[in-house]
Subunit: 237 residues, 4 copies
Amino acid sequence: MKVTVFCENDEGLRNNPRVRKAYPNGFGQSIAAVFGKNTVFVPHDKGEDGSALLKYLEDTDVLVWWGHGLHKYVSDEVAEAVADRVKRGMGLIALHSSHMSKPFLKLLGTTGTLRWRESGDNERLWVVNPAHPICEGVGEYVELPHEETYGEHFDIPAPDELVFIGWFKGGEVFRSGCVFNRGFGKVFYFQPGHETFPTFRYNSIKRILKNAASYVAPKHGVGPALECKHTPAPQKR
Amino acid sequence: MKVTVFCENDEGLRNNPRVRKAYPNGFGQSIAAVFGKNTVFVPHDKGEDGSALLKYLEDTDVLVWWGHGLHKYVSDEVAEAVADRVKRGMGLIALHSSHMSKPFLKLLGTTGTLRWRESGDNERLWVVNPAHPICEGVGEYVELPHEETYGEHFDIPAPDELVFIGWFKGGEVFRSGCVFNRGFGKVFYFQPGHETFPTFRYNSIKRILKNAASYVAPKHGVGPALECKHTPAPQKR
Amino acid sequence: MKVTVFCENDEGLRNNPRVRKAYPNGFGQSIAAVFGKNTVFVPHDKGEDGSALLKYLEDTDVLVWWGHGLHKYVSDEVAEAVADRVKRGMGLIALHSSHMSKPFLKLLGTTGTLRWRESGDNERLWVVNPAHPICEGVGEYVELPHEETYGEHFDIPAPDELVFIGWFKGGEVFRSGCVFNRGFGKVFYFQPGHETFPTFRYNSIKRILKNAASYVAPKHGVGPALECKHTPAPQKR
Amino acid sequence: MKVTVFCENDEGLRNNPRVRKAYPNGFGQSIAAVFGKNTVFVPHDKGEDGSALLKYLEDTDVLVWWGHGLHKYVSDEVAEAVADRVKRGMGLIALHSSHMSKPFLKLLGTTGTLRWRESGDNERLWVVNPAHPICEGVGEYVELPHEETYGEHFDIPAPDELVFIGWFKGGEVFRSGCVFNRGFGKVFYFQPGHETFPTFRYNSIKRILKNAASYVAPKHGVGPALECKHTPAPQKR
């Protein structure tokens, strides 16, 4: 399974002391490390259109996307290329504030809006679908000592599979783990992962992400673009 | 719209001082009052098989069910009659601990199990589907100063429509408002309503229950029992 | 309820003798006539970007879209304006070959591809959700003496509600009536309606379309654009 | 993976010349042969309550059920034991006329009714979810030269995953392959398989059944019965 991690890496993020403390080896690098040695990390800097991703895209089974402040710089062409490859079978894991990323919104068709607060309150991530492969080995819930608060209403289509619901100390709930099927591909949205907290270094979160990558990976390759087919009537016996 | 409220009314419930304080006009009576004057209240006492309901069942558009400690006394025949009428078009509103009632489980096919705690903590009931008719006029969430805590994992089939998610101060979340379609009928499960708290006297809760009754009511009557039909081939032009 | 019908009306369509025979009062005009006197018909001609629709869009409760050969001329801005209004509450009825129209694909996030054949074979449109409001008064199926054949695989997300499945004499099946919820709005895709057959003049089809318009119409108006909300923690009691 | 096949085997079935011609090695035996050598075949004869199954049930990963005329003889206890084990994680494949079998109806909560005709017309089984593991290697459709006709409306809850839609020459359509999640278990309903046609001997059907067994098999064992859990508040950091 070939995983590519596309993650913001601008100066503000790199030099933020809280990010450096939470991720001494680098933020995007740490996300990539979850998925094993052969994972490619494609950093996204301010002003870049994201086309650095295109070099790896057609060789990617699962694309992991983390974006927050730089969504607007990603070109429509890159977003369309990602969405297109998902529809042909590639898995996509959209992390945290990627709920507003262009490829995610193209695939969902809604606004992805939500309520939020940088409170650093704790979150408890509850499993609501314990037989789901993404939850395997996770237990009944995951405790996150600090996370950015995300709250409903989250403007997404009803997910094909709802896996996690987040509880936040400040009083919010959130559909924190959702699977959406689009064409031949699967999209997993996962809410935790604010850059100033070491979320991606917790074993339970790593477990979920690895489970998710296996779950959304294409089982039989990524196909060509679909087209409408004119077909004669099938011959009947 | 003819509403029938089937609600426990045993001595323990009637004489509980906390219930009397929360519902001076009676518990089941107060639930019935939500739905207007013509609503029938069918009390359910310890040891009774529930057959008192049968007198009203075939004249009921929406059945509201509240049960907790007396589920086991309801006979399979009564439970089957209720489930059968739902499949033919009657609406069912299953309140609070009715998640373990026989008709609800017959219609869902799962165990309905959950985690719980009588903490009296506060609950915040979040709307996750703001365009849904059951939420009309409710706002973004409903604050309940005290409720029994119910928590995931709630063993239900994925609801056809998820309307509310509850947040509990003690750290739990719960799919608190769920619509299930079964045959021609609709079932709305609604989690709030522990007998010692005046939940059913709050305007926002009354609003939700009235919206729900309109939503699950049969639009074109309740039909006969379905049967498999042997049919000749439809004639083609 | 204010209905706007956006429908192709280029010379090829207008002057096609088969279309004229099937719709002596005009094709788009006949679709508009289904929805009553106050319905606005916005014709779409070759090369036009669809912006003629914008004059009516913000006053529209339900937009009916019929497109086939001119999808590419509709500008992204117009498609985005339609999709945006749907997410804010407007209903959309996408007819027949509108499965490839820009607004529909923006809202669905898939390719909308299918297999097809202009056979003129007959179609039988089966009701698979008889309690659904869109089927009211329709019976068990609708017989269409001639329709263009559409067949699976139809590349759409799993519909929130599947209402009709089409049977085609040549051997195909199709998910012919599908409801998708997107934000505050509802989208109904309906497969029948090739321009050379008098489909929109049949009473059963008119009934379905009128039912659908009532079903997807916003119940409480169309709201402003959603935005992410920064919110302080709700105060708890 | 341990598969158990519970299949009718009464004298009428055994001695029917058409069944013998279609399945020279025996009908239930031929179904069992699809799943490999270690599969247990539990025959069900007229008047038997099905308790012969109980000997194998707790050692079964995937139960395959074929019933038609003998549903009524299966005791409620046996049906409940099957449904209970599914909710704890066992996979269930309900074949053909098992749409009216007791365990299937207990798990679904609807009547399972449909329209039917023993026409021997041909069926074309269309894949409507080509990325689903159950379809792997199957192609766009499967041609069945002769099958009993089953038609909508099929009274089931909206399936969690719709995989196949059947087309019948006589004019019907049917949701022929449906996955339902119930508790920790998965149920796959599959419509083809009338005893007088050699359906279960076709390679494409064998492929689907083997795919389905892998898909519904428990990935992490079958657990104990779920119970409501009283839990103290989780300790927060």
